[in-house]
Amino acid sequence: MTTNDEAIEIKNALKVYKGDTDVYALNDVSLMIKKNEFFTLLGPSGCGKTTLLRLIAGFEHPTSGTILLNKEDISLLPPNKRPVNTVFQNYALFPHMTVGGNIAFGLEMLGWSKSEVASAVDEMLELVKMQDLKNRRPAEISGGQQQRVALARALAPKPQVLLLDEPLSALDLKLRKQMQIELKRLQSETGITFVFVTHDQEEALTMSDRIAVMNEGKILQYGNPRDIYHHPENKFVANFIGDSNFLLADIQNGNAVLTDGTELKLSKENKQVSNGQKSILIRPEHVQMSKAKGSKKAFEGKISNIVYFGTDTHFHLELKTGDDFTIRKQNTPNEGTDFEIGAVVELTIDENAIQILND
């Protein structure tokens, strides 16, 4: 990693809202966002992700800590002095200006000449495929079109970083999927760093180069989607991203011993983990099921419910330990209903599918 490829660096950012009880919207957050990456801040509402975005945009200033943009401290700069633009959740298009006027606004404020503004506006309209609607008012176009105008307006000044505050949450599912692809396209075409805020884990996984999972004003983990999904460090991250089975296990010399004495083998990297009580995570799709052979040591469960989802089927089991356990099995055309409610099945788990959590 070269030292030049950081776009944003946040060092120990603290944001406290004073009140009867002080609210720590951001509690000692440090983060590095690389150039040209699609970075997502993911977390439930109130986790501090929007506060962090507002701090980068300059709408709010940190109580303490610094924000660096290309190595330069911008913590105290007002928003109009930062080469950073925002796509707002409600788009915040200026209702008294046309689509073209909205896109031109930032460029005019930067002092571009009339001809430069005009050609940039046309270029942006083409980028978001909205050429025909240049002279319409925001109230006269659909929500999806407003979304595109908001994107074009924020991209037009060619900011170093584009901030997106849950921009897809107001769109219906189909349009949202389209815009996810569109956003990825725009990001790779413009080469601008995108910082995207969402509470939708699927959106985060499909779009991001890297994700930071936040909760209660802290970043719990950050890394690429694969790492976050397969190697969550704690229960919150595991639970927030994807479906999870959590089991209590006693780690003994490279094995995880469940409360009923069943032993599960651990992978090499997990063998380093010190002995003791830990939570382990097993993803529902990482487990194979077969008819129980009646072996005593087998990892077994009894099917308590079956839910059909079209592409796959969810089997809810009760383990010998008494824990509930879910298995997701992809449906194939030739398969019938091999497994029925009440049947006892044996479970096989790849040793790499077991993740030991830190809390």
């Binding site: 945009a57 300059g58 709408f59 007002p78 928003p79 109009n80 950073v84 633009n85 925002t86 707002f88 409600n90 915040a92 200026f94 209702p95 008294h96 606004f105 930032g106 404020m109 930067l110 109230a139 307006r153 924020a154 000044p157």
Partner: protein
Amino acid sequence: MARSSLFNRPFEIKRIPSFQSIALFTFVGLYGPIIILITYSFNSSASLGVFESFSFQWYITAWENEKVQEAAFRSLYLAATAATIATIAATMAALATTRTKKFRGMTLIFVIINQPLMIPEIVTAVALLVFFAMIKIATGYTGMLYLIIAHTAFCIPFAYLPIRARLESMDLTLETAGADLYATPWKTFQRITLPMIWPGIIAGYMLAFVISLDDVVISEFVKSAGQETLPTYMLGQLRRFITPETNAIATVNIAVSVILVSGFFLLTQRKK
């Protein structure tokens, strides 16, 4: 059966007995005298009781009356000046009370701004009379400034309320977006806030203008000798003898007010 169906129907004010006669009475009470006044302003005779034939005679008489011209001009000048100053002050007050963080004493400021709506006009008029008399004795100045100051003061709340309503309904994110797009606070105000609240400002101005134009009590107490406004001139005329000329002036006054107030409603009712 009939009884139960009566109780099953939702409550409607129209069903109250005598609702229609009360409504009719109210309309007659409100508009009857005005309609009579307007009608008689077109009367060709000087009689207040008998309508002879239709004519514009009294309008012409009023138009040619130098005293009416002078009073009318003074009223318009006063209304325009007072409404302008009041609207500027009201815009700033509205911005200060909606665009700053809540602070201690904010309600007090609201009360102070709206004081003219709460204190009886005659009390303000007497107070101003005494206060300005002291200044007049001390300085010897007897110009229009007293009227302008007094009118500005009581026009402010009328300008303030529609502007404030407009500001409160405006999405604050728009100003944030302006700042995000490199606009300085002043540019953001000029290019975004001001155009957004402009209908409220015009509405506030029109209302303030009408209120100033129609004022009798404060003008009567504050004016110096020879500073008749149209309403005080009419009042003076009525003290001597009622002529259809006064009716004609009043009718024009009504027309101007109706136009301005209608404009006010159009501007405040129109959705964004």
